[in-house]
Symmetry: C2
Subunit: 337 residues, 2 copies
């Protein structure tokens, strides 16, 4: 009868809203640590898999050829807020590859973060494709095309070598077939395939450990994770959950949000991958879920306390008074099955 309620929204002492979801926690050898809800149903991972989608960018040698460091690799895995540093770095990346910002095919949008949008409205006539939260990923695609001698035009389309490489990496890492009838178009115009959460969790455990990967891929995966954990501002932005969690983690946890309530994460030192989706697609609940799962998995560690606080955000009203909170439900318990 559906996935369990995993997050509750309180106003006063009353539960005002409820978020259901499913969570998969797997090891790199495919062993299950735990699961809640239906982890076999295909879900679109959306931007939560950008680290996997960035494998061709690093494996092909493109990142090295253009002299990119942690910031550029982190931005290639980002759903950034469109802050000036993000847009400038995305443009610098494509320029390094001899391309202009007219090469981006992700479309433009104003920042989803209110404080950034206010600054953008005051500084810009309109946002550009470089401000798109996916522009770093697209810079990675474009740089890879340039490095490999592929015509970048149409790089977002199904069947372009850039998307063939992304699909091959996704299938190899997750072990899940990417079926045509489970293909949709992402917000930034590239194909996205629905796959089971258990395959995503398994894939993120392998990204963290390199288990079963050829040496070049294992090296690329570790470099990508290290870059994101070293430069978390470039993966998201000021005040964003991924940035705050990875800043607190100091290189010990990897997290990445995706649209419609998805999160993928990993604890490299434990060889564990995590994938979850809030059924209703709400980010506030997915953030509580990922912080709580990480906190429970790291129970007894000082880092767990910080994550536990992040899983219980206070809600204030328009005058700043505390009026409620979000909290994990009693069903959100990590137990080895």
């Amino acid at each position: 009868m559906g996935n369990p309620v995993l997050v509750e929204v309180l106003r006063g002492n009353v539960v005002e809203s409820r978020h259901r979801g499913a969570i998969a926690v797997f090891e790199a050898d495919g062993g299950k640590v735990m699961s809640l809800g239906d982890v076999d149903r295909p879900v679109f991972p959306r931007s939560a898999v950008k680290a996997i989608q960035a494998l061709p960018f690093v494996e092909s040698g493109a990142a090295d050829a253009f002299g990119f460091g942690n910031r550029e690799i982190a931005l290639a895995c980002a759903s950034h807020s469109g802050e000036p540093e993000h847009a400038a770095l995305a443009i610098a990346m494509v320029e390094r590859a001899g391309l202009g910002s007219d090469a981006f095919e992700c479309g433009a949008h104003w920042s989803s973060e209110q404080h950034v949008l206010i600054a953008q409205a005051r500084d810009l006539v309109e946002p550009t494709a470089a401000h798109n939260n996916c522009s770093g990923k697209h810079a990675g695609f474009l740089c890879t095309c340039a490095h490999l001698g592929h015509d970048p035009q149409g790089y977002v389309a199904l069947g372009h070598p850039a998307q063939d490489a992304v699909k091959a990496a996704m299938e190899a890492v997750t072990g899940a077939a990417h079926e045509t009838d489970l293909c949709g178009t992402d917000g930034c115009s590239i194909p996205t395939y629905a796959v089971p959460l258990k395959a995503l969790a398994h894939g993120f455990a392998r990204m963290a450990t390199g288990t079963g990967f050829a040496p070049e891929r294992a090296k690329a995966a570790k470099r990508i994770f290290a870059a994101c954990m070293a430069e978390p501002f470039y993966v998201a932005g000021s005040g964003r959950a991924d940035t705050l969690m990875m800043e607190a983690g100091k290189g010990r946890i990897f997290t990445k949000t995706g649209a419609e309530g998805v999160f993928c994460a990993a604890i490299p030192e434990r060889g564990i991958g995590i994938a979850l989706k809030c059924d209703d697609g709400t980010t506030r609940a997915a953030e509580v879920m990922v912080a709580e799962v990480l906190a429970q998995l790291l129970d007894g560690d000082a880092l767990a306390e910080t994550l536990r606080d992040m899983a219980r955000p206070v809600l204030t009203n328009r005058r700043g008074f505390e009026v409620g909170s979000l909290r994990p439900s009693e069903a959100l318990v990590v137990r080895a099955d």
Copy 2:
């Protein structure tokens, strides 16, 4: 095992996200037209009951004393977008009562509507309390205090005559006791009480018909509904669901959104009241639910076609390509029980 899935979010041909909820449709004599899910569980109606909360403003004679017409009464029932016309009218209302905009106790916030926020960021240093989506309701409270000779200071607090009158109106109209242990604080700082959806639906049917009300209250309720239906821009704003539905309805339907996925509505010519809540608090799904319920109840009517389209919005990506849609689930069927 929980409320049914009532709205599906599609990407390509795949259901990406799901929204559960409960819907109550009742007649003014308390007879049930239909219900889906749990309509006995108390929910916070939030701003969906502003029309009921505006009864003291009209019944007391305050609205007449200050010469207010449809726009002012509509604004007193509004969750407006903070567009310049909204803020200006809220200020004009309190000034008519001899008060200044420093009397507002709702707090200030930037508009939740992106297009309005961009304009605000360019025009304003900071938003004021007059831009708060609830400023019209608060103008109504303040004008009522001024008219009745109550000290307006602290008018948002539990126990102030303004809130006593609101609570009494809410209890009388809905027939539901407002319990202290089900009291929370709303976004604009006034008390809000959780009550069953069935009581809210019954209350909105009575607001539409005046059934069981004293003549003064029946007249005030009809005047409030008529004002909102005549001036739907002042109830919400450009492009907003309430405004679009009531514009299309041309005086035949009343709708009002509330935070955390609530909607109340009425079809006066049928004597029917509607109250619903999306479990997870998501507005996009509550909008689909209310449009679909109204469309089904008005089946065969030209207005139903417009509402049916509103219940099936297309989702586009950052380049404007159609990538998905929202739709009512197969469970969202209005049947007389």
